[in-house]
Amino acid sequence: MGGLVFRLENLGYSYPRTAASFALEIEGLEVREGEVLALVGPNGAGKTTLLVLLALLVRPDRGRLEFLGQDPWSSDESAGRARRDAVLLTHHPYLFKGTIADNVAFGLKLRKRPEAEVRAGVRDALALVELDGWQAKSASGLSAGQAQRVAIARALALRPKALLLDEPTANLDAGLGLRMESVLREAGREWGVTVVFSSHNFSQASRLADSILYLSDGRRTEFGHENCFSGTAATDGVTSWLEPRPGLRIVFAGRAEGHVTCVIDPAAIRLTAAHNGLARPVGPNVFRGRVSRMETTDEATALVRTSGDLAFRATLPVREVEAAGISLSKEVLITFEPGSVRVVGERPVESPKPS
């Protein structure tokens, strides 16, 4: 990865004239060229506010925000210039009146690109979102998903240095969501575009992102989600692990160094009823817990939350839950393969201590 695209230092922002005392405080954050960073956190965590700040649409109240090595807020003109390299795609994007082509061409025309280049740019961008041929259609009356795709094309057509997306696949069906994910990945890895996106979908964040920033109440948090654990990676040469709590090791496949965050896919977790007096099975990634919540997401899938040494969330087939005799408050053993642990958000430790 290349140079720094964003550097934040003691950044603070609070909304003016609002009764709620929400404030975003980010002590430090660095995002490199070509990096894909996910912002994960509950509603009201400050994900959108951070994206709006990164898009240079509002000026931070405190601290420093550098974009491409410069302070964009040194003057109004410099903020305007810098804004041309950072495009924000909002959760419910707004389409201007006119045709789909008018919308996708909007930013290209502002940049005074030649007519032929604008037409080719519009066609290529619409092809990426599978809407080529829709140029002449009116932008009004599109479904939320179609509007989202047009807005994605409108942003991609500009090939900005930083692409900021607020829940980019929220309005898309599963298939198109996956297609958009690959477009975003491509934007990051092949075009060198820095992508920062917010997501509620934790597995999406871990699938797509090189690193994840967890936010809660406007602040960076270490544990932003269930099944997500952070710590310093360690290895004995054979296996690698991190210890989110002393004595509790999450073993993962491969190697990582420095401060890492591990994510365990809820579908990869197995639950078995624990019987009192039974010895804990030997092997990596076995934890004891108690079922704290159960619900069904659809007819066949159950969502089970456990509390205990570590809190987990598992999604299991309903029949498996029934067969294993798992019920609320029941003691369970939680197991998962090291191969199903995904290591994300690896950041080198500044001055590694000898282990």
């Binding site: 924000l88 909002t90 707004y94 006119g98 009116s138 500009l158």
Partner: protein
């Protein structure tokens, strides 16, 4: 009433009211854009004053400017009383609050996301302002047309500041007043119908022009 006189009256109406609508719009639309985009202390008061001003009778504005422009008035030296310029000034003052009010409502109805969307796609603040205006172009044009219609149909200002001078400041409405006073009701009705047809024609032309350009309603 001879045709030449009639044509001149129509021309005076179109010229004074058209100019008044253009000048008033150039002042009112930016003012409405400012009011719609900002929250500040006293904004409500400004809007209430504008609302009240909208209801000002034409003769009151006529009287006010008559006082200002008459030979002994503070602006008497300009020699504007009983000229088309005086009629235009009076009509600007008459329709300014109307266009501000209508434009303000039009701009408030533009989606709040339009401006930040334009900014993030690379528009400067000035361009983003234009884009917001463009998003509201239909209701804004209606605001300007409403201003024009109010100006062309008023009689109080034209009479008091123009003086209904034949072949100089006589327009359609003062002609109607004169014909009626003379007992020539038929002429009055014909002129009234002509005024309505003119206004209708301008409305239809402008709206059709807008639709043609955008390809949508």
């Amino acid at each position: 009433m001879i045709v030449r006189e009639l044509a001149l009256a129509v021309w005076v109406s179109l010229k004074t009211s058209g100019l008044a609508a253009l000048i008033a719009s150039a002042l009112a639309v930016p003012a409405a854009l400012f009011l719609a985009g900002r929250e500040f202390r006293g904004k409500k008061l400004v809007l209430v004053i504008n609302q009240t001003w909208m209801a000002a009778p034409t003769v009151v504005i006529g009287l006010l400017f008559y006082g200002l422009l008459s030979r002994n008035g503070p602006l008497g030296g300009l020699g504007l009383l009983y000229t088309q310029t005086a009629m235009t000034i009076g009509q600007i003052v008459l329709i300014l609050p109307l266009i501000v009010g209508f434009s303000y409502t039009a701009l408030r109805q533009v989606d709040r996301r339009a401006r930040p969307t334009a900014l993030t796609l690379g528009a400067s603040r000035r361009q983003a302002g234009w884009i917001v205006l463009r998003e509201a172009r239909f209701p804004l044009v209606v605001a300007v047309l409403a201003g024009f219609a109010r100006a062309i149909s008023e009689v109080g200002i034209a009479m008091m500041l123009g003086g209904n001078i034949r072949n100089a400041t006589r327009n359609i409405t003062t002609s109607i007043a004169l014909e009626t006073a003379k007992g020539e009701f038929r002429n009055g009705v014909v002129l009234g119908v002509l005024l309505l047809v003119l206004t209708l024609g301008i409305n239809v032309l402008v709206q059709a022009g807008l639709r043609g350009r955008d390809g949508e309603s």
